[in-house]
């Protein structure tokens, strides 16, 4: 299982843990198969990510990442990775930032 951003959820995905709001109130139970209505609820309550069955760990941004052309991706990585020389990329925070940087540059068309 792994976390996935609410924005990247689709109908039919299955929750592998309970979804709680920030005060700990139960919104959706583990095992729920997501419907449009559920996605609406998650967005309304400001839930940013949930555990979904069959996703790899640390793959929060899995969906948008795949839309980057592999050739462009490798150019961007060559350019950006050296800046992260002193960053511990096994940490979810730094890993997440690296992904965001690559996506940003891909979006801005920088090479």
């Amino acid at each position: 299982m792994g976390k996935i951003l609410t924005d990247n959820l689709a109908q039919g995905m299955i929750l592998t843990s309970d979804v709680l709001d920030r005060s700990g109130r139960l919104l959706l139970k583990s095992g729920t198969e997501l419907t449009d209505r559920h996605l609406y609820i998650l967005r309304t309550w400001g839930i940013v990510e949930v555990d979904i069955a069959g996703m790899e760990d640390n793959d929060t941004n899995a969906t948008p990442d795949k839309t980057i052309d592999p050739a462009l991706r490798s150019i961007l990585e060559d350019k950006i990775m050296p800046l992260f020389l002193h960053a511990d990329l096994s940490h979810p925070f730094m890993h997440g930032l690296l992904r965001m940087r690559i996506q940003r540059e891909a979006r801005n068309g920088n090479q």
């Binding site: 996935i4 990510e49 800046l83 002193h86 960053a87 925070f93 930032l97 690296l98 965001m100």
Partner: protein, 304 residues
């Protein structure tokens, strides 16, 4: 100032070259102090705000004397950063809605940005420097709001001022800074590590000391002093964490530049202290980004 991290002598690792380093730090601060000083209006504002018997009218009267400051504060209050529905057209309203302490923090950020001028372009592009600083301020403020910190504007000011020590170094020892920048390129080392090796202190420490010297509240000076060494923050560890992380976020995303080429390493305990899910990063940046351009336009005019 008590057990305040900005008290330079308390750093235990500096036993050997202690006196020399201390003298160097003093030199930097004194030289800066003799050339740049906070506008009188900020001091008067602080005096009035801290006085138990002053009213909002006293505060607004002082701010209103400075038309430039008034205009910028009003623009800030009406910017997307605050997202108020109705128009805030007087300082009086701003003070009531945003709060006097918050207004003071904003006035501080605006004032400091105005005073540092004439930095050689080859060291840093000032527009891009303030872009990094303002982005750091906005993201730190967003983290603070996310964490339901009531002092969000102080965090914003600390974020804007976090690299003020670099400006001190750029103006007082430009040649040495040039050498250090070259060294960091050649050695692929972080600039602040090189500063630490050379002087026993970093630009973060210099900035914190300068602010402490100017009697800026500790809740702003300590996070600046400790933004590369957040575990040293004794009184305001949470505020320091916001600045530490926001600085890393801005560097990692390539927003503006401050003379440092690498993304600084994360102190993992700050992340744990924040307790936010990794996925929220995207949300936080998405929330902060639209505020960036407008704030830069409001504050940046006088900072180029």
């Amino acid at each position: 100032m008590g057990s305040y991290a900005c008290e330079f002598s308390e750093r235990p690792e500096m036993a050997t070259n202690d006196t020399l380093n201390k003298k160097m730090m003093e030199r930097l601060i004194n030289e800066t102090d003799s050339v740049y000083s906070l506008p009188l209006i900020y001091e008067r504002l602080t005096e009035v705000i801290n006085h138990p018997r002053s009213s909002i009218t006293d505060i607004t009267r002082i701010i209103s004397e400075d038309q430039g400051l008034t205009a910028r504060l009003l623009k800030l209050a009406n910017s997307p950063m605050f997202g108020f529905f109705s128009k805030i057209d007087t300082i009086d309203k701003a003070a009531t809605i945003i709060g006097t302490q918050q207004l003071q923090a904003l006035a501080l950020a605006v004032s400091v940005m105005e005073i540092f001028t004439g930095i050689p372009e080859e060291l840093v592009n000032m527009k891009s420097f303030w872009q990094h600083s303002i982005a750091c301020g906005i993201i730190a403020r967003t983290l603070a709001i996310y964490h339901r910190d009531i002092n969000a504007e102080r965090v914003f000011a600390a974020g804007i001022l976090h690299d003020v020590g670099r400006l001190v170094m750029f103006t007082t020892i430009p040649e040495i800074v040039k050498e250090m920048i070259v060294e960091s390129r050649e050695e692929e080392s972080l600039l602040y590590w090189i500063e630490e090796n050379r002087f026993g202190f970093t630009h973060a420490n210099v900035g914190g000391r300068l602010l402490a010297n100017w009697n800026i509240p500790e809740s702003i000076a300590e996070p600046v002093y400790c933004h590369h060494s957040p575990v040293e923050a004794k009184k305001f560890p949470l505020e320091t964490s916001f600045i530490h992380m926001a600085d890393i976020i801005c560097k990692a995303l390539g927003i503006g530049s401050n003379g440092e080429q690498f993304v600084p390493p994360l102190e993992p305990s700050t992340w744990e202290r924040m307790g936010i899910p990794a996925g929220s990063l995207v949300e936080i940046v998405r929330y902060a980004e639209p505020q960036l351009e407008e704030t830069l336009a409001i504050l940046g005019k006088n900072a180029s």
